[in-house]
């Protein structure tokens, strides 16, 4: 297992390095001079040149890249132009908010998508199956920022049941935090719930055709026991690994949800940084998201091996 893990981590290093190359050179594509943004009102050529020299912008690009990646490896992703805070510190403040939102969304998606997928597989080509597929198509196609707006209109503006925006930490007030986050989490969960429904259905349909399921039924086991005790245990494996992969998508999807519900998370951080031309933050967020994504890929691979007895035996 250790060797398998070490191999996966080794393969991830060049990928992450390439991401860092993209992220760094993307900023160099900028049409404007970043020094002008840093200098503010100052337009004296000598001052501008001094800033350029101080920041190392006169060095060859490769030297600049090596200096940037070297600092990034030690946790220094630069400083935010807007707040003056280190980028890593900013990400550390915002990430827990988004993780809470994404975890709640994942829970909701799992609670709906997996049982609905099992139901659709068992009721194959019957009304229940068609209904589940219709719901999945609807959830996949609805733009979640629009769904968010409609829910605010209905639940917050008209019914006054839940707050329309804001964030409360669960450590401060757990009940209020859940009340504030449930609607954004529901919105974020839609696409994932649909994907889980479709994959669970497809995975269960494959397993339900197996010989051992036929044998279990022939032995007289009750339908519920066959479906949940035998079929689902084997169908759940790809679903768990898929969930690990989709968690990364949730972090990205949170960008819009946080914008609609004014949640001060990771997604709102990148959008605010884009509009204030705070490129160190944009670079930092993209790099950290990619690193998180690669890590989730590795977790998915490891889970797949750990949960599959045949693969585990080969290690």
């Amino acid at each position: 297992m250790h060797i398998f893990l070490a191999k996966r981590l080794l393969v991830a290093i060049p990928t992450l390095l390439l991401v860092s190359v993209f992220v760094f050179f993307l900023q160099k594509l900028l049409p404007g001079d970043p020094v002008l943004a840093l200098a503010g009102e100052e337009r004296d050529p000598a001052t501008l040149e001094a800033i350029r020299e101080q920041l190392g912008f006169n060095d060859p690009l490769i030297v600049q890249y090596l200096r940037w990646i070297g600092a990034a490896l030690t946790g220094d992703l630069g400083t935010s132009l807007r707040t003056g805070q280190p980028v890593l510190e900013l990400i550390g403040q915002k990430l827990p908010v988004t993780l809470q939102l994404a975890t709640m969304a994942l829970g909701i998606a799992f609670l709906f998508g997996v049982p609905a997928g099992i139901y659709a597989a068992v009721r194959k080509r019957r009304a229940g199956d068609y209904t589940a597929n219709f719901i999945a198509l609807t959830l996949l196609s609805v733009p979640n920022f629009w769904l968010g707006i409609m829910l605010i209109l209905l639940v917050s503006v008209n019914l006054n049941w839940l707050p329309a925006s804001g964030y409360v930490s669960p450590l401060e007030n757990f009940a209020l935090s859940m009340k504030t986050m449930i609607m954004p989490a529901l919105v974020l969960a839609t696409g994932l719930a649909a994907t889980l429904l479709r994959h669970t259905r497809s995975s269960m349909m494959g397993v339900l055709k197996s010989d051992y399921i036929r044998t279990a039924r022939a032995k007289g086991l009750a339908g519920r026991n066959v479906v949940l005790g035998h079929a689902f245990r084997n169908a759940v494996l790809p679903i768990i690994t898929l969930t690990a992969l989709l968690f990364g998508e949730l972090l990205a999807g949170a960008v819009l949800t946080e914008q609609i519900f004014t949640i001060p998370g990771f997604g709102k951080l990148i959008v605010d940084a884009v509009f204030t031309r705070d490129y160190a933050v944009v670079q930092g967020v993209v790099l950290c998201t990619a690193a998180g994504f690669i890590l989730l890929n590795i977790i998915a691979d490891v889970l797949y091996v750990l949960l599959n007895p045949r693969l585990r035996a080969q290690l």
Binding site: L16, L29, S141, P143, W146, L153, L251, A252, V274, A290
Partner: protein
């Protein structure tokens, strides 16, 4: 002797079978029935007898739908119905152009990686993996931010963000096809790499790429609406469904219907392309049956 004489026979194409299957597929028909009228309205927008989408009226601010303004008016008295039709142009254009960008860049790279293998494959595959490690929307936002906010740049950003999926799909299909006898035959008779790729491999990997393209249009339309919603796509005063939603969210209590129509339109078009993609998959890929 011309190479055409020596070339091994290509597998018989049966477009009519795929077409017949597509015409019988309820998903594809419903998808096409949703997309076609909206596409027609978008194309014919300049010829339709509708109000100027940018004409303001200070006497008709935030009106509810009525006989004169079928979908009401916005915060500066513009006709929402007219802006919806012109907004369809932005959405459909963004969907198709960005997918075209993804195809034009992704298919050749996938072909090269799959066909040549070796270091070409290694370089392209590593770059693809790195691009796939950056989530679609985050990458599109970062690119749109770096390129500057505009519909054109949003289309480029979405196209480049969708490209790695096309590269990976094309590469996989090429790997499956290049081991076929007719490709081996083409190589044996001395056809050059370009001829083999363009005449023997590309035509046989088109169906899954078409399916993916239809599904990616749906993703691209949502991505364009998302970028415009964030202010990184279509810029004011030009209409787009995403930017209309962005404005509408500020007037939820005063003009609730304003937010309804652009969202419904995005939803309908995306459902249409998803259904069409599913139908195309059933018709073009027999393994899915």
């Amino acid at each position: 002797m011309s190479s055409a004489v020596q070339s091994p026979a290509l597998p018989k194409k049966q477009p009519s079978r795929a077409w017949r299957s597509l015409r019988r597929n309820p998903s594809a028909i419903i998808g096409a029935l949703i997309i076609l009228p909206i596409a027609l309205l978008a194309i014919l927008a300049p010829l339709l007898p509708i109000a100027d989408p940018n004409a303001t009226s200070w006497t008709a601010i935030r009106l509810a739908p009525n006989a004169q303004y079928w979908m009401g008016t916005d915060e500066i008295g513009r006709d929402i119905f007219s802006r919806m039709i012109w907004g369809a142009r932005a959405s459909l254009l963004a969907g198709t152009i960005s997918v075209a960008i993804a195809l034009v860049t992704g298919v050749p790279l996938g072909l090269l990686a799959g066909y040549f293998g070796g270091w070409v494959d290694m370089v392209i595959s590593r770059i693809t993996e790195a691009l796939l490690a950056m989530p679609f929307l985050i990458m599109a936002i970062a690119l749109a931010a770096f390129l500057g906010p505009s519909l054109t740049n949003a289309m480029i950003a979405i196209g480049l963000s969708a490209m790695p999926i096309i590269i990976r799909l094309t590469r996989g299909q090429v790997l499956a096809v290049k081991a076929e006898d007719y490709v081996e035959g083409a190589r044996a008779v001395g056809l050059n790499h370009f001829e083999i790729m363009s005449r023997y491999i590309l035509p046989n990997i088109v169906p899954p790429i078409i399916v993916q393209a239809a599904l990616t249009i749906a993703t691209a339309i949502i991505a364009e609406a998302s970028l415009s919603f964030l202010g990184l796509g279509q810029q004011a005063p030009a209409p787009s469904w995403g930017s209309m939603l962005n404005t509408a969210k500020n007037f939820l209590s005063q003009a609730p219907t304003y937010a309804l129509f652009p969202g419904l339109a995005i939803f309908l078009v995306v459902v249409g392309f998803n259904l069409l993609g599913d139908g195309l998959r059933d018709a073009l890929d027999p393994r899915e049956h």
